[in-house]
């Protein structure tokens, strides 16, 4: 579902963020991207939703070589890749229902589709009864769940999460990660950048470890944060 071959990224100011990255993530797989601050986790994530284009190597997302994707096709790739962030990025003046529905609105989906899909998505993240709330009326964990619902409402085959638990307490973080793992088990490819050792060690899934932009370890199953 995601393939990177000899990928390198050098930012315009000359900073090298990734070097020689080879990575293949299967459909329905769950992969942690771990590493110290500045090791290139966000850079790698941005390659997947084509916020960035690799300066070296090839990146293939959902069968598409993103470097060959013309700019006007990028929005259509984005519809296949749900994204969530540490800062939730919800619209404060819209209800939970409208925030999730926004992802359908802006791709021109009919109203009926919105009223059908948004409740399903909210149900999936366990917020079936909070559709009429506003973001400020929710806890951090609930806000992140709304973001996940918004990322999933278009049924994308891939979900990219960049430190989704960065602003949450350990218990809530664990709930969110379990939700993401469950989403992966139902067939969505999930990659999650994090430096939360605790949840990585607890979940025991694939772990890709970056040090200064290079993959130093790729534990396919039952991985831990530091390889122990």
């Amino acid at each position: 579902m995601i393939t990177m071959q000899a990928v390198g990224v050098v930012y315009p100011d000359g900073t090298r963020a990734l070097r020689g990255v080879d990575l293949h993530v299967e459909r329905g797989e769950f992969a942690f991207i771990v590493g110290a601050s500045g090791s290139g986790k966000s850079t790698l994530a941005q390659l997947v939703y084509r916020e960035l284009v690799a300066t070296e190597g090839r990146v293939i997302v959902a069968g598409q070589d993103v470097a060959q994707l013309p700019a006007r096709r990028v929005p259509f790739l984005r519809r296949k890749v749900g994204v969530i962030f540490q800062d939730f990025r919800l619209l404060p003046d819209r209800t939970v229902f409208e925030n999730v529905g926004f992802a359908l609105d802006v791709v021109g989906a009919p109203r009926a589709e919105k009223f059908r899909k948004v409740p399903i998505s909210l149900e999936l993240v366990g917020l079936g009864d909070r559709g009429d709330s506003f973001p400020h009326q929710l806890s951090g964990g609930e806000q992140q769940r709304v973001c996940i619902a918004r990322a999933l409402v278009n049924s994308p085959p891939i979900l990219v999460a960049d430190e989704p638990t960065g602003n949450l307490d350990p218990d809530t973080s664990w709930d969110i990660v379990q939700l993401l793992a469950q989403i992966a088990d139902s067939g969505t490819t999930v990659i999650m950048a994090t430096h939360d050792k605790h949840i990585v060690d607890q979940l025991r899934r694939r772990v890709v470890h970056l040090v200064q932009g290079t993959i130093v370890r790729d534990a396919k199953q039952g991985g831990s944060y530091d390889g122990t």
Partner: protein
């Protein structure tokens, strides 16, 4: 675009117009003023040209007689020339009467108020307008002729004035239009800025650039259309009013008229307004939106 997308775009444009309503109003007024200037100068120039062409078509030479000269002999001489079709003597009293009628004043008042400054004249009609200059030249050298006037030199002067008016209108209006353009693009940039969070999310969930941009284009075009309509009302209304007033008092002035003509001018102004608005929002969104 799907109907739902059109609905979304229009709703966003409407919110945008209201969000910075004062700046929007400023932009609308600016467009209105610049287009009123362009339209006003255009109408002035067009009328001057119209009058000039009317004058140029009349093949009449006016010969002013020197003080005390009898007209019979001169008229006979002129009539003898084959290029001359007709001659008519107009005394200074008759000329003043004609003038009084043209400016719509009672002759008695006029004659009493001023010491008649008009000369006795002979009006010579030439068969072929091409011969105007030649006949005028020849007539100017005849005995007893003080001065020769014919309409073509007046027409040429009018045309020069019209060109000046047109250029000035374009310069002034163009300058104002640039200001209007900048103001529209500023209102659009403000809109983009206050919606930047929303736009960022739209781009992340896969909205196309045209979908992100469309509400701003609609917003700019609406500002332009409103400004254009205001200018249209001012130019067409003002012109119709002035036309009625001028033609009632100065009957010799022949102005461009007709619904077709005014409708064309009005439509032109409205179209220019929309164009200005669209151009402004293209500039405004280009500079601010990071279009991936």
């Amino acid at each position: 675009m799907a109907p739902r997308a059109v609905e979304m775009v229009l709703a966003q444009a409407w919110t945008g117009l209201r969000r910075h309503s004062l700046v929007t109003l400023g932009a609308v007024c600016n467009i209105a003023v610049s287009l009123t200037i362009v339209g006003g100068f255009f109408l002035l120039a067009a009328n001057l040209e119209h009058m000039a062409s009317g004058l140029a078509r009349e093949a009449v030479i006016t010969i002013e007689l020197a003080e005390g000269v009898k007209h019979d002999e001169l008229e006979r001489q002129l009539y003898a020339d084959t290029r001359v079709k007709d001659t008519r003597y107009v005394s200074k009293e008759e000329a003043l009467k004609e003038y009084a009628k043209a400016v719509n004043l009672p002759y008695k008042d006029l004659a009493g108020a001023i010491n008649n400054p008009l000369p006795d004249v002979i009006r010579v009609t030439v068969t072929n307008p091409e011969d105007l200059a030649a006949v005028a030249n020849w007539a100017g050298r005849l005995e007893g002729v003080a001065k020769v006037r014919y309409r073509r030199d007046v027409a040429e002067k009018l045309l020069r004035v019209a060109t000046g008016v047109r250029t000035m209108g374009l310069l002034l209006g163009g300058l104002m239009a640039v200001a209007a353009l900048l103001l529209v693009s500023t209102t659009i940039q403000m809109g983009v800025h206050s919606r930047r969070r929303e736009i960022r999310i739209m781009q992340l969930v896969g909205a196309t650039n045209s979908f992100v941009r469309a509400p701003f284009l609609v917003e700019g075009a609406t500002e332009g259309l409103l400004g254009g309509l205001l200018a249209m009302v001012m130019v067409v209304g003002g012109y119709s009013y002035l036309q009625a007033r001028i033609e009632a008092s100065l009957t010799f002035v022949d102005l461009l008229r007709g619904l077709d003509f005014l409708a064309l001018v009005g439509a032109g102004i409205a179209v220019m307004g929309v164009g200005l608005g669209l151009a402004g929002s293209l500039i405004g969104t280009r500079r601010y939106l990071r279009l991936v």
